[in-house]
C-alpha cells in the first residue's frame, strides 16, 4: 500500500512473509511451541525511497529486516528482488545477491571485529565481491569511502576499540556502502548514540542516500527519528503491519489506535505542549508473541475494542490515498 503513485521502479516486493521460530519445549514429552515473529507481512518498496519500520521491542521489526536479507530464513511468503524470489535461492546465490543489499547494526562497536583494523573491516566486502581488485585499487576505494562518511585517513590502521560510538557507526556505514549496494537495512542505527551524535549519523545517511542513490529500510522504535529520514512508514505490532503509508499522511493523521497511542506516548520537547496535550494512556504490556491474543493483536490494550476485534483479525483497508490500516474502528475520531 506504499506510495503506488511514484513512478520509480519497484526494488523490493515482500508478499505474505511469515517468519517463525521453534521454541524448545520445557519437557521432553511436549511438542516445541512456535513463535510467529513476522506474520503475513506484505509491502512494496520503490527505488530511492526510505521505508521506516516502527514498533516496540518484540514486534518483529528486526526479524523482518533480517528475513528480507535472508539472514533469517522465513517459512512462508515471497521476497521478490530483481525478479527473483530470494526464498528460492541457494545460500551461494544469496551470498552474491548480498552485494546489493547490506545491513547496518544497532551496536556499532559490537558489530565490528575487534581484531581487524578499520581499513580491513571496510575492505572486507570488496575482498568477497570484487576479488579481482588490485591492492592499490582496493585501498583507493577504502580511502574514498572513508572520506565520504567523514573518517580521517589516519584512522585506517586503528582498531575498533579506539573509536567512540558515533565514529564506529561511521565505520559500519562505510563497510555497508563500499560495494555500492542498492538497498541498506539500517537496524536501529542511532539508538545507542547520544542525541548530538545521533543527528550527525542521520545527516550522514541522508547525504549518502542522495550521493549513492540508495534505498533504505530504516528500523527504529523512535517515531521522531523515523520521521526525519523516511518517505514511507510501516507500523508493526506483534509481527503484523497495523498501519502503513507515506510518512506525511500517517504522521499527520494516524488511523490505527496503536499508531495513535504510539504518537501520543512519544515525548515532545516542548513543556507547554507536553502539559497541554491529552495523552492516550495505554494499559498493560504488549502480549507475548508466543501466546498471541485471538483476533486483532492490539485488542487487549485497545480502548476501542469490541467483540469482533476479539474474534477476527481485521483486514488491511485503505484509509485514504497513501495510507492503509488494519482496524475495524479506525474511522471513529481519536479519543483523548
Amino acid at each position: 500500500m506504499l506510495d503506488q503513485t511514484s513512478s520509480a521502479p519497484t526494488l523490493l516486493k515482500v508478499e505474505n512473509l511469515t517468519t517463525q521460530f521453534e521454541i524448545e519445549a520445557k519437557s521432553f514429552f511436549k511438542k516445541p511451541s512456535v513463535l510467529t515473529a513476522v506474520n503475513d507481512v506484505s509491502f512494496e518498496l520503490k527505488e530511492g525511497r526510505t521505508l521506516g519500520i516502527v514498533g516496540e521491542s518484540g514486534c518483529g521489526k528486526s526479524t523482518l529486516g533480517r528475513s528480507i536479507l535472508q539472514l533469517i530464513r522465513a517459512q512462508k511468503g515471497r521476497v521478490v528482488w530483481q525478479g527473483k524470489n530470494l526464498l528460492d535461492l541457494s545460500e551461494e546465490q544469496i551470498r552474491m545477491a548480498r552485494r546489493d543489499m547490506q545491513i547496518i547494526f544497532q551496536d556499532p562497536i559490537a558489530s565490528l571485529d575487534p581484531r581487524m583494523t578499520v581499513g580491513d573491516i571496510i575492505a572486507e566486502p570488496l575482498t568477497v565481491f570484487e576479488p579481482k581488485l588490485s591492492r592499490s585499487e582496493r585501498l583507493q576505494r577504502v580511502q574514498d569511502i572513508m572520506a565520504a562518511v567523514g573518517l580521517v585517513p589516519e584512522m585506517i590502521n586503528r582498531y575498533p576499540h579506539e573509536f567512540s560510538g558515533g565514529q564506529a557507526q561511521r565505520i559500519g556505514i562505510a563497510r555497508a556502502v563500499i560495494t555500492r549496494p542498492k538497498l541498506i537495512v539500517c537496524d536501529e542505527p542511532v539508538s545507542a548514540l547520544d542525541v548530538s551524535i545521533q543527528g550527525q549519523v542521520i545527516t550522514l545517511l541522508r547525504k549518502l542516500r542522495k550521493e549513492f542513490g540508495l534505498t533504505l529500510i530504516f528500523i527504529s522504535h523512535d517515531l521522531s527519528v523515523v520521521r526525519l529520514i523516511s518517505d514511507d512508514v510501516l507500523v508493526l505490532y506483534l509481527g503484523r503491519i497495523v498501519e502503513a503509508g507515506d510518512c506525511a499522511t500517517v504522521f499527520s493523521a494516524p488511523a490505527h489506535p496503536y499508531t495513535q497511542a504510539l504518537f501520543s506516548a512519544a515525548p515532545i520537547p516542548d513543556p507547554k505542549l507536553a502539559r497541554q496535550r491529552s495523552r492516550i494512556r495505554l494499559q498493560g504490556d504488549p502480549p507475548s508473541p508466543m501466546n498471541p491474543p485471538p483476533g486483532c493483536p492490539f485488542q487487549p490494550r485497545c480502548w476501542k475494542a469490541t467483540d469482533i476485534c476479539r474474534t477476527k483479525m481485521p483486514p488491511t483497508e485503505l484509509v485514504r490515498a497513501g495510507q492503509s490500516a488494519a482496524c475495524y474502528h479506525m474511522d471513529l475520531p481519536a479519543e483523548a
Binding site: A266, P271, L282
Partner: protein, 335 residues
C-alpha cells in the same frame, strides 16, 4: 508549574566535586557543583554520556566506585551526607533518599521473591512486623499499577516484563516515603508506551507524597513533560539551570540550545537538522577555556582563553557562557 522558591530547602550541594583516581592521573567527573532542591520539587539533570550526571548522585548516595572521592558538601535537611559514617548513611539511604536505576533487572535481586524485596525495607527502616509490611507492600503494588498484585507478589523478577519490573523498583523506592527520589534514566530501557506509563506514575506519586524528584536523563523530551526545573550538565559542570519553560523557550547556553534543536520531533517535519559537530571532551584533557568551546558554533577568543562561570541572567536562570542566547541560525552547522 508553581513557584518553587518559597518552599523549604531539602538538598543543597555546595562546591561539590567528584574525582576518580586512575593509573593515568586524577579525573574530575564533577567539578564544583552547586544545586538546591526544594521539598516536592522536580528537577531534571540533563546531559549526554560522560557528562557526570549519574556520578553526581551516586556520590551523594555513597555508591561511587572505590577509586572515587567526593569533596564539598551535600546537605540533606542541613546534614552533610558526604560526612556520614557508613552505618549512619545506611539509615538515611533507602529511607530519606531512595534511588531508581535504569535497568530494573539489575536493581532487583534475581533470587528473591518480589514480596521479600519489598517488605525488607519496611522492616528495616520503619520497624514494621512481617505481616504489616506485607499489607503495606501490597498496597504500594496497587498504587504503582501492577495488575493482579496478590499473585505477582509471590513471583521472581524474571517472571515479569521490563515495565512491570520498573514499577516494582519504584514501589520499592517509595515504600519508605522518602523525601528525595533520585531516578537515573528510569525509562531509557523501556518502550515508549511503557515509558509514558512510568512517567505518569512518577508524576502522580511524587505529587501525592510530596517527594522531591531528581530525574537524571539524556532525553530533553522526557524532561519537558515532567520537570519544574532543569539543570544541563556538560563535561562535569552545570552549564545552565532554569525553570523548564524558560529553558526550552530561551536557552542561554549554546549547548542547551543545540541539544534542544538537535532533537527530532514526532510532531513536526524538520528539513534542516541542527547537528552538534565533534564529541564531548575527554575529562583528562579538558580545554583551557570553556569545555564546550571546541564544538561551539559561536566560539570567540575569550571562550578559549578562560572558563566562563555560572551567572544569573534572569530570576532563577543561570548559565556559564560569555555569549549567551544564540539564535537558531547561528547553530546551523553543515556537517
Amino acid at each position: 508549574m508553581t513557584d518553587q522558591t518559597q518552599k523549604e530547602v531539602l538538598l543543597e550541594l555546595k562546591d561539590y566535586s567528584i574525582t576518580f583516581k586512575t593509573p593515568d592521573g586524577d579525573v574530575k567527573a564533577v567539578s564544583n557543583m552547586n544545586l538546591t532542591v526544594r521539598r516536592g520539587e522536580r528537577i531534571a539533570i540533563v546531559g549526554e554520556s560522560g557528562s557526570g550526571k549519574s556520578q553526581t548522585f551516586l556520590g551523594i548516595m555513597g555508591l561511587l566506585a572505590k577509586n572515587g572521592q567526593t569533596s564539598g558538601q551535600a546537605l540533606l535537611e542541613g546534614r552533610d551526607v558526604l560526612a556520614l559514617k557508613p552505618r549512619e548513611l545506611d539509615k538515611v539511604r533507602g529511607k530519606d533518599m531512595a534511588m531508581v536505576f535504569q535497568d530494573p533487572m539489575t536493581a532487583l535481586n534475581p533470587s528473591l521473591k518480589i514480596s521479600r524485596q519489598l517488605t525488607e525495607q519496611l522492616e528495616i527502616h520503619r520497624g514494621f512486623t512481617a505481616r504489616a509490611a506485607s499489607v503495606e507492600a501490597l498496597d504500594m503494588l496497587k498504587r504503582v499499577g501492577i495488575p493482579d498484585p496478590t499473585r505477582r507478589f509471590n513471583l521472581y523478577p524474571h517472571e515479569l516484563s521490563g515495565g512491570m519490573r520498573q514499577r516494582i523498583v519504584i514501589a520499592m523506592a517509595l515504600l519508605t516515603k522518602p523525601k528525595l527520589l533520585i531516578a537515573d534514566e528510569p525509562t531509557t530501557a523501556l518502550d515508549v508506551t511503557i515509558q509514558a506509563q512510568i512517567l505518569d506514575l512518577f508524576n502522580d506519586l511524587t505529587a501525592e507524597m510530596n517527594t522531591a524528584l531528581l530525574m537524571i536523563t539524556h532525553d530533553l523530551g522526557v524532561v519537558a513533560g515532567l520537570a519544574d526545573r532543569v539543570a544541563v550538565m556538560y563535561a562535569g559542570n552545570i552549564v545552565e539551570e532554569a525553570p523548564v519553560d524558560e529553558l526550552f523557550e530561551k536557552p542561554a547556553h549554546p549547548y542547551t540550545a543545540a541539544l534542544h534543536a538537535a532533537i527530532p520531533r514526532p510532531d513536526q517535519d524538520v528539513d534542516e537538522l541542527v547537528v552538534i559537530p565533534g564529541r564531548p571532551p575527554n575529562l583528562q584533557h579538558l580545554p583551557k577555556g570553556c569545555n564546550f568551546s571546541p564544538r561551539c558554533p559561536q566560539v570567540q577568543d575569550d571562550c578559549i582563553d578562560r572558563p566562563p562561570q555560572l551567572e544569573t541572567l534572569a530570576p532563577q536562570h543561570c548559565a556559564a557562557c560569555f555569549h549567551p542566547f544564540p539564535r537558531r541560525e547561528e547553530l546551523l552547522t553543515h556537517a
